[in-house]
Amino acid sequence: MTTTLAISILMTLAAAATPILIAALGELVAEKSGVLNLGVEGMMLIGAVAGFATAVTTGSPALGCLAAMVAAGAASMVFAVLALSLTANQVATGLALTIFGTGISALAGAPFVGLTTQTLGLVFPSSLAADPVLRLVFGHSPLVYIALLLTVAVWWFLSRSRAGLILRAVGESDAAAHSIGYPVLKVRYLAVLFGGAMAGLGGAYYSLVLTPMWAERLTAGRGWIAIALVVFASWRPGRLALGAYLFGAVITLELQAKAAGFSAFAPEFLSSLPYLATIVVLAVISIGRAGSIAPACLGKPFRATT
């Protein structure tokens, strides 16, 4: 009995951590290139609605995931044109993207409220996942594994590949990178596009795996938490995965306490736990740190002066 409970808690934890991890990995890459895109929440919502609408229409949740990445990637390009090519303030542009994503997803999703769709199937045969302990290894949605593989891939890309080195150079010193011939804007466009696609995939996880349904503001601020996680992780992929799973634990705690009818605290207090936890974590990691770990050019516009 306790084993099954423990396993179900761990399953919930992985499920809660995955979308935040995927979106945060995208934001991490964008920020490493020097771009602060605060539109993650909006892009996740766009991904969630595009994924759900596509899955309902085509019957294929996998196509839904793809559509989510394309739609949120397209939204990220609106941000990129404004913030990179037109050198608009990145904070304001990111906020605009989040407000836009909230509005357009509600608009586009209105006909889909109340509908249901198939969720993504399991990767491994369900016979493997029948045993409670093996379920812990084999019983997850494909996106849970993809998120972990992505973490390794992003780590390898940033620290071991030449392209990753260029991306970091662009984020640390855009002027120097430009002067030795690296295409600063192109690198940043690609990084923002990757961030958008990942936010879209993270959003699709909500509407295709976790719930699966569409409701307005389905992601409930998780996009902002993903941005906070990047700060928590000091821009390191390994710590990002750790942080996302810690965060999954907080959400699991909230859900378990609610399910158990735990009445020492009001349910509203439990609902605000993820946000309070984020603030506390940000505060704790900020103690005694000069804040110099961020990419040096983060949030600064760049315009080549030929």
Partner: protein, 369 residues
Amino acid sequence: MGPRLVPRLAPSRSMVFAAPVIAVVATVLVGALGFTLLGYDGIGAIREIFLTPLMSAYRWQDLLVKAAPLAIIAIGLSIGFRANVWNIGAEGQYVLGGLGGTAVALLTAEMTGAWILPAMILAGIIGGMAYAAVPALLRTRLGVNEILSSLMLNYVAIQLLYFLMRGPWKDPMGFNFPQTILFGAAQTLPIAIPGTLVHIGVPIAAALALTVWFLLARSVMGFQVRVVGLAPNAARYGGFREKRTIWLALMAGGCFAGLAGAIEVAGPFGQMVPGFPTGYGYTAIIVAFLGRLHPIGILLAALVLALTYVGGESAQTTIGLPAAAAGVFQSLMLFFLLAADILVRYRLVLGIDAASQAEPVATARTVAP
């Protein structure tokens, strides 16, 4: 050679004023096109949202009532944005302001007296400022990014509101609806223009805009805010304390958002309900930018954004436009404003001219790995 952007020697003053107008016009055009493509009556939507409310005297009242909280919150935010302090938590500060006002209203439910309303407004301001003090404290003491902390608190504020509505503050005679009792006459904002909906929050918003305009333009404090925002290093050298400015910026935001919350709960709402957070805190960010962070510009911008609410509501009933359309129009306006802003610093050159040929071409040099 196609159209290019050429840097200006000095920022264009006329473009500073033209950009918001360009943004609104572009929003109308693209909005009409976009909503037509989405299968709605695009032209009708624009007429319903941007013109119909202006044609009717009744809607004008509504417009002023909706614009007042937007303007008040945006004025507070603009002080912070000028100093590069990004308070995204106005929504939560507005809710806490409403809760502060509600607390006083509930305590004084059976009482009458001219002191009650000022006490409600004061409690609202204290609520908003106390809530803004959290990100201010975290930023100045620990260096926590105020964007993230103030935003997280918005979600917490809404949960606090739900908690109070479902529990301690629920109207015992309210058939179990999660809302407070209706406020009495002493707890309700007086009407400014008899026979209309226009309450005294509207003249208060206008008076605040004028006061802040004067303070920013004429006081040392206003100068300090502007310098810290424009040149933080120079400000530090000049002896302005950055931490004090961060506090000032966030307290101003919290104070104004809290005030708006108290005015709303004592005015149009007349009781506290779970639907109190209406996104004003986020829309006010757009109002602040569209108004060029200038108090008078903000008054005009608040009226424009109020149109999207008032017109959006009427477009829901007349042409079946979903409520979310208002948010889409609002964000389009901000997108276009941010895009048009480049014209403040750059000139748009169309086609070939002498300068374009004289300009050196950037040469990319390959580098050995």
